[in-house]
Amino acid sequence: MPDTAIAEAPAKAATGGNILQVRNLEAWYGESHILHGINFDVNAGEVVTLLGRNGAGKTTTLKSIMGIIGKRAGSVKFNNQEIIRATSDKIARMGIAFCPEERGIFASLDVRENLMLPPVVREGGLPLDQIFDLFPNLKERLNSQGTKLSGGEQQMLAIARILRTGASFLMLDEPTEGLAPVIIQQIGHTIARLKREGFTILLVEQNFRFASTVADRYYVVEHGKIIDGFSNSELAANMDKLHAYLGV
């Protein structure tokens, strides 16, 4: 079965128009070829989760979309515009925001500066008070140095700061890593709410239990390829297969 067929099949079931279209995406770190032709779509307003084992290439996929991988090939269309050749600052300004797995909190900036750092690219971002509702810790530590936050607080800050920008397409790389269960639940609620407000979210998650509470559709990545894809409703039917893929 060709890859494209897998990718498109579930997409039809989803809502809204196609916002991101990835075709034959390949990527390299120096000499090593990591992505070998990734194909998938994301429709406006849905939450799509990439699943896969450690090192499958999930993060690399997000980075390639964002344009921060040295060498990449294939096609990535955002709102029908080809962005595979664009530089990452242009891509960001088109309305894609990325929250990296290593969080990327800036040590030389305090929490407030970290939060205010990403420029607003369009209307419609979350106002600060809402952000503080979501993450009360941040409000308390507003004047601390960014990297003096605890691991989990840094994760919150990393998510919070891209909600402000007004980008409507969010890519979150393992946002729950290192977070306490309470906070994970909160993030789940936030994602659900963002979705209601019209955000589109591409999520990478190891925590399958969490993903299942928020995602509309799943793709499974292995060895730099999409090997399967199904919607949330098909989840139960696919559980066995999934266990095999992820080694749960």
Binding site: M66, S108, P119
Partner: protein, 287 residues
């Protein structure tokens, strides 16, 4: 006692050069993570550009104050685009060596064409003469240097520490890729920053042209002292280098009075002492 006041004031004047130079160095180090060894050479270029503007183009000191930093700044930006750019993410050492090489080339070329003893540059008429302060004769030009550099220093500090642009810059130092992925054209910003730092050096060059000889090697020895200022202030700390710059000028002035033989050494003594007590300089952020 009067003599002492005079020495303090004179020290402050020298301090303003240290402050301006180390400020540019701190901006460049703080933002680009490059130890700009070419700083002394660019300072020298600033003075030379002022000389040429006057002698070839008939452009006076006041315009030179504006134009020389721009011209040298553009030169710096070309350097950044063609060479320094390729060193992002590498160890400090490479930037240091590259800029050291650039300094040798620039100084060598100037020496070839203008010899090493230097060229004269007169004090602008408006600033000639001096005031008798009672305890000393203060050349007006020197007074102007202090005031002007203080203003420039504070303006630069405000720009970097208090504006959004400054936050971008600081963030880009740590993780340029990510900042770029937030939608900021980091390479352009870095180029401009380097231009700014270099422009500050050139500005100091123009300021010093009427006081010192316009010589190809005028910056070569200064650079080490200026490094020390930046280190004492805490690498990359803007306020740290401004304050240390002025303070060092004063301390050096006092040394010249009490024990002149040590006046070139005092900065290093100070550096050792400061680093012994505060391992990352006076205001340095932890490594």
């Amino acid at each position: 006692m009067q003599a002492l006041y005079a020495q303090l004031l004179v020290g402050l004047i020298n301090g303003s050069f240290y402050a301006l130079l180390s400020l540019g160095l701190a901006v460049i180090f703080g933002m680009l993570n490059i130890i700009n060894f070419a700083h002394g050479a660019l300072y020298m270029m600033g003075a030379f550009v002022a000389y040429f503007l006057l002698n070839l183009g008939g452009i006076n000191y006041w315009w030179a104050l504006l134009l020389a930093p721009i011209i040298v700044g553009i030169f710096g930006m070309i350097l950044e685009r063609t060479m320094l750019q390729w060193l992002t993410g590498l160890d400090h050492l490479y930037g240091l060596l590259l800029t050291f090489g650039i300094a040798l080339i620039v100084q060598g070329v100037f020496q070839n064409y203008f010899g090493s003893s230097g060229l004269p540059y007169a004090i602008p008429d408006q600033l000639k003469g001096g005031m008798n302060l009672g305890f000393m004769f203060l050349p007006i030009y020197r007074g102007w240097v202090v005031v002007f550099s203080l203003v420039v220093c504070l303006a630069t500090w405000y720009l970097i520490e208090k504006t959004q642009l400054g936050a971008y810059l600081r963030a880009a130092t740590e993780n340029p890729t990510l900042v770029r992925a937030f939608g900021i054209n980091v390479p352009r910003m870095i180029t401009l920053t380097y231009g700014l730092g270099v422009g500050l050096a050139a500005l100091a060059g123009v300021l010093s042209a009427p006081i010192n000889q316009v010589r190809p090697l005028m910056g070569a020895d200064l650079i080490i002292v200026v490094f020390a200022v930046v280190v004492i202030g805490g690498m990359g700390s803007i306020m740290g280098s401004i304050i240390t710059g002025f303070a060092l000028g004063v301390i050096e002035g006092l040394t010249k009075y009490f024990y002149p033989e040590a006046s070139n050494t005092v900065v290093f003594v100070l550096m050792v002492l400061v680093l012994l007590v505060k391992p990352t300089g006076l205001t340095g952020r932890a490594a």
